[in-house]
Each structure stands twice: as C-alpha cells, then as structure tokens.
C-alpha cells in the first residue's frame, strides 16, 4: 500500500510538473508568436512604445528577455520557493511559497485571489456533488430494478431533460422562481460558512440544485446501466439463492458492485469541476475560481490565468490520486 501510494504520488508530481511546463510555454510562447510582448499580458498597461528604453527596461526587469528555460526556472522557483516582486519603484511585495505571482491589474497576489475564491468553489462543489451523487444513484437504482416500468420511464425521461438543459437556462429559471417570483430566497449573496452559515446555505441552495441537476442526470443513467448489468450477474443469483432479503441483495450485493466504476468518474468529475464551474458561478454571481478564471481570461491577466490553471490541474491530479487509492480499497481484486 505504501509503495503503491508512493508511486502514485511520484506520478502525480510528474503530471503536475508537465502541466506547469505546458501552461508556461503556452502563455509565454503564444504572445511572442502574436508579436506582442508578454509583458503586456503580465502587467497590463504599458504606457511606453515597444522600442523605447523604458519598455525594454520593463521587459528586462520582469525577465522576459531571458532565455525560455531561465524564465521557466524563475516561474517554477517562484512557485516552490517564493519570491519578492518589485516594479523597481515601490517597496517589493513579499510573495511566500507557493507563489503564483502578482496580478498588476488587480493589485493582488494571485495566491491570495485563489485562496479567497477557493472556499466559494469548494462550497458549491461539495454540496452539489453530494446532491448529485445521492440523487443520481437513487434514481438510477430505482430505474434499474424494474427496467421499462413507470418509475424507470419517469426517471430516465426527466434525466434526459436534465442533461439537455444547460445551467445558464436552469440557473436563471430557478432564480426567477425562487428568488423573484416566490420570494423564498430574498437575498442570495454569498457569505462564508464560518461567518453566517444560514446565509451561506441560502446563497448555495440554488447553485447546488442547478449544478447537481445536470450531473445527477448523468449519474442516474450511469448507475442505471451499471446496475442492470450487475443485477444480471451470477453472484446476485447466488445472493438470492441464499435467501437474502431484496434490500440486502440490491444494496449490499448489487449497488456495492455497480458503484465501483461510478466512484472513479465521481472523483474525476469533482477534480475537474474545482476550477471550471464557470457558468454556475457566473449565473449566481459567486466569486469562486471559475469566476476568477473567466474574469482573468477576459482581461488577459496572465499571472492569474497561469495560477488558476496550475491549481485546477493539481486539483484534478489529487482527485485522481484519491480515486486510485480508494479503488484499491473498495475493489479487493486491485492489488497494491
């Protein structure tokens, strides 16, 4: 087990390193190709013409005249060891490790921005994930027990509808109904759970439901097909032949086996979504990582985009790692 985890951990580190190289290259090389100095993207406004001495001084100060490998080292060492960021005039900004740089456009450390945004995204994701996992698996299981029955048809038709409805449709619809028409949720502005749990819950319910709605539909279909397959397995017949009750057969023997592949997909989905609940956050005006990334992309705020990309990659890799370890725990046939 320790060996297994160590290997997976080393693998994960390699993946994150590759991601850092690729994102670095894309964001450093592409501006060069478009014949725009990355310094524009880096600090935003440059009030000097590109051939002026001041411009060259800026390029030099932020190291954009160094060879690529040196720039990459600067970037990587900044993340690993921290760095001091200075414009040469004001007092240097201390950026301890892990330092993802400084957004000159928003006058804030990228790390701080991500740290502020993360609780919002995590709140959104954890709540929605629980909702969609429980809802999707329940609907899928009920459907699978009697394929073609009324329950199955209702479940599968509504999940088809849910898959087809984008969040930018269901989100505003929910807002229209519950906030504006019924007035049940008059104020849905976000508050951290540590400060005002009730307000936090109020602000999260609609985003949870609209995000979970979409994913629950996918999970319902997935659970249904897995469950139908599992219930046809020989060991289910054995369980029935032992005289076990229906619930034990379905839950302990059927669902236990049918859920195993779903765990994998669940881990990857959650990992992916940490940085990419952009639409949900935008619709519900939640300042999470998705919102941060879309805002930074719109304003071409290079350090923030870099930081968010790497954090999102780390989240996905960690989720995958957890899934791999979990898989070895839930499926005894996986040797570790």
């Amino acid at each position: 087990m320790v060996r297994f985890i160590t290997f997976r951990l080393l693998g994960a580190i390699v993946v994150v390193w590759i991601v850092s190289v690729v994102t670095f290259l894309i964001f450093q090389v592409v501006p060069t190709l478009t014949d725009t100095s990355p310094v524009y993207y880096y600090i935003g406004k440059v009030p000097f013409p590109p051939d002026s001495i001041q411009f060259k001084a800026l390029v030099h100060r932020f190291g954009f005249d160094l060879p690529l490998y040196a720039q990459y080292w600067h970037f990587l060492s900044g993340i690993l060891l921290g760095q001091n960021i200075t414009d040469g005039v004001s007092t240097p900004i201390v950026c301890p490790a892990p330092c993802f740089g400084y957004s000159f456009r928003q006058n804030e450390l990228v790390g701080t921005m991500i740290l502020n945004a993360a609780p919002v995204s995590i709140s959104l994701l954890v709540g929605a994930a629980i909702l969609w996992l429980v809802g999707g698996v329940a609907v899928g299981t009920l459907s699978a027990l009697k394929p073609g029955s009324f329950v199955d048809r209702v479940g599968m038709t509504s999940s088809l509808a849910a898959v087809s409805l984008p969040i930018f449709f269901t989100g505003p619809l929910l807002l229209l109904i519950f906030e504006y028409t019924l007035g049940w949720l008059p104020d849905t502005s976000y508050a951290p759970i540590t400060e005002d749990p009730a307000q936090w819950l109020r602000s999260m319910i609609l985003p949870w439901v609209s995000l979970a709605f979409l994913f629950a539909a996918l999970y319902a279909r997935l659970t249904r097909s897995n469950m139908i397959e599992t219930m046809g397995e020989d060991y289910i017949r054995t369980a029935r032949a032992k005289g076990l009750g229906r619930r034990t057969v379905v839950v302990k023997h059927g669902l236990r086996a049918a859920l195993t592949p779903i765990v994998t997909i669940f881990g990857i989905d959650v990992g992916t979504l940490i940085g990419s609940t952009i639409i949900t956050e935008t619709v519900f005006n939640l300042r999470g990582i998705g919102y941060l990334s879309i805002k930074s992309i719109q304003s071409l705020d290079l350090p923030v985009i870099l930081g968010v990309t790497i954090i999102a990659a780390v989240a996905l890799v960690v989720a995958n790692l957890i899934v791999d370890i979990l898989y070895a725990v839930i499926d005894p046939r996986v040797t570790v």
């Binding site: 060991y235 017949r237 054995t238 032992k242 005289g243 034990t248 086996a257 499926d331 005894p332």
Partner: protein, 356 residues
C-alpha cells in the same frame, strides 16, 4: 409460515406427497420473437436421500427448472405454471417472501461457475456466514465459527485464515468447495447442484462429486444433480431424468437408463460418450443436428428432427403426434417415444448396445 401456505401432505388422489414433487412445470419466457418454452410440462418426484440426475444438452431446460424450484424466476418476466411441492409446501403460488425463507435453509444451490457466482468484493468467509446469519438467530461471531467449521468440513485447509480471503485468491476447486459450504451451512434438505463440476478440471471434479455425495449421506438430503456429463450421473445418481427441448423424454433408475435405455435421444447421449477402448474413428458418435428452437418447438415428438429411427414408426406419427411419457420395460422407467416398446428394446439390444 405453513399456516399461510396450502399444505396438504397428500395429493388429491390420496397418495402421500413425495418430499419434492414437480407437476407439469412450465416456464415460458415471452420475448419479442415469440414465447420461449424453456420448460414445457415437466414432472418428477424425489424423496430425501435420493440423488436425481437431470441430463440433457445446453438449452434443454435443466437450469431453468432448478431456478424454478428455488423460486428465482419470481420478479422476472418468466411465466411459471404447474406445481412444485417441497415437503408439503407449494412454491409456485407462494409469495416471494415465503420462498425466500425456504431458500438457503430448506433448499440450497450450487452453481456452475464458482468464480462468477461468488461476490468479488466480499471475503469468502463473509459470504458463507451471511448465508448462515440470514436463517439463524446467532451472533456474527458464532456465524463466523460455524462458517469456519463448514470450510473445514468441505476440505479447505487452514480454514480460519482462508476465511478472510477473497474469491479471486481461491483456486477453482477451492471456490466450488466454498460454494458447497455456503449452500450447505443451513443443512438444507434439498440440494440442487447445477453443473457443479463443469468449470473444474477432471481431478478436482471427482473430489467435488465425492464431497457432495458424502455431505448428502450425512444430511440425508434430496439432491438434484444437473449435468451433461453422463459419467458423473453413472457414478453419483440413483435416478436419471433425460431432458430434451424443455421436456422429459426418458426417466428411470440409473441402471435402467444406462443398461436398458429406450429413447433414441438417450441412445444418442450414450453414444456421444467417448470410449477410450475403441478405434479413434469409432470412439464417439455425435447426435446429428442441433437442439430445437424453444420458440418453434417441432410438432409431434420434440426429437423428430434429429431422430434416426422415425422410419420405424408407422405413418407420420413422429412429426404429427406428441408422444406421451409412458411406462417402459419396468415400473419407474418412463419413455416418451412412438416406437413400440418391444421394438425399442430390440433396437437397443441389436443395434445400439453392441456399438457402445
């Protein structure tokens, strides 16, 4: 339990019911292509202490019959009619809950492929004690002890530590032993073994059969052994039921079936057994053709399309009239065939028996 089920221990004709009695069992599966008549009018009786062998090709309805006895078609789309009496209780009309209570406790079942029949995510021991716990009010610890005792009984060395192994850590023969332990832990009075040795290699087969026989002697259970291996039947069974196309075509005591069979299909089965003491060319004579479609069962005798003896019957009776299961040379021996009894016995003696 017995108050909610009709429990006359005597039949309408006044005769005492056998321990297991199957009367005119039909299991039909409606499909898009038509009704699949997997079992069509099967009847037999079995007393405790007896071993009945059900033989036939794949798709002849052997396994479907055993699942019907365990009531495992309940909740599926199968249409099951007829009567199955187990110790005075009727299974087909009983509710799922009533039959569930009998499964595992009164009737145990061993399946063909022990690897796919064991749950991959639970330890072998846990699966065996689960079978015990569901029918017995004991603590988990006692169930564990009983499961280990059972594992030892079926010949698993090091049972206390193998208890915690998963099925994939067992060898094929060990898995089948574990399945047997699971099926017998509640000492069922009826044991159904559905091709218990098919997935095992030959040396292990003998051990497993020996084990089943030994446990059968010990518990005095009724055993139904489903197989397509006539060697297994000859070695183990008291009675034989030959199935073809969902029907019983011949049944009788094991000696009768092997030494005086009367039905052309049974002859075919016996001739399909390879004989090592013959020339390579004559070692094995397969039955020509393939089993009938269970959707379009041939009219007349089910076996007429493959039967080499239809010319021995006057007219077109084999293709038009469905033969009844009628008594053969001795009581207890029944045959479904249009060839006159005397002629059948003669064909066996002069044409079939010498070439075996």
């Amino acid at each position: 339990m017995s108050t909610t089920l009709p429990s006359p221990a005597v039949r309408p004709d006044g005769r005492k019911r056998a321990f297991l009695e199957v009367n005119d069992l039909r299991v039909h599966f409606p499909t898009a292509d038509g009704v699949v008549k997997s079992v069509d009018g099967l009847s037999f009786e079995l007393e405790r202490g007896e071993i009945l062998g059900i033989v036939g090709e794949s798709g002849s309805g052997k396994s479907v019959t055993s699942l019907a006895i365990l009531g495992l078609h309940k909740g599926s789309n199968a249409e099951v009619t007829g009567e199955i009496w187990l110790d005075g209780r009727e299974i087909i009309a009983a509710t799922e809950e009533e039959v569930r209570d009998l499964r595992g406790s009164e009737m145990g079942m061993i399946f063909q492929d022990p690897l796919s029949s064991l749950h991959p995510f639970y330890t072998v021991g846990a699966q065996i004690s689960e079978a015990y716990l569901v029918h017995t009010k004991v603590s988990k610890k006692e169930a564990r002890a009983e499961a280990i005792r059972m594992l030892e009984k079926v010949g698993i060395p090091n049972a206390p530590s193998r208890y915690n192994d998963y099925p994939h850590q067992f060898s094929g023969g060990m898995r089948q032993r574990a399945m047997i332990a699971m099926a017998l832990i509640c000492k069922p009075r009826l044991l159904i073994a559905d091709e218990p040795t098919t997935a095992l290699d030959v040396t292990v087969q003998a051990q497993i059969l020996e084990l089943i026989k030994q446990l059968h002697d010990e518990l005095n259970s009724a055993v139904i052994l489903i197989t397509h291996d006539l060697g297994v039947v000859a070695e183990t069974c008291d009675k034989v039921l030959v199935m073809y196309g969902g029907q019983c075509v011949e049944t009788g005591p094991v000696d009768e079936i092997f030494y005086a069979p009367e039905m052309p299909y049974t002859w075919g089965l016996l001739r399909s057994m390879p004989r090592m003491d013959r020339d390579r060319q004559t070692r094995l004579t397969p039955i020509p053709g393939s089993p009938p479609s269970l959707i379009n069962v041939p009219s007349g005798c089910v076996f007429n399309t493959r039967c080499p003896f239809t010319d021995r019957v006057d007219g077109d009776k084999c293709r038009t009239v469905h033969p009844n299961l009628e008594q053969g040379a001795t009581p207890g021996h029944a045959v479904r065939c249009h060839i006159p009894a005397a002629q059948r016995q003669e064909i066996w003696l002069t044409e079939i028996s010498p070439s075996l």
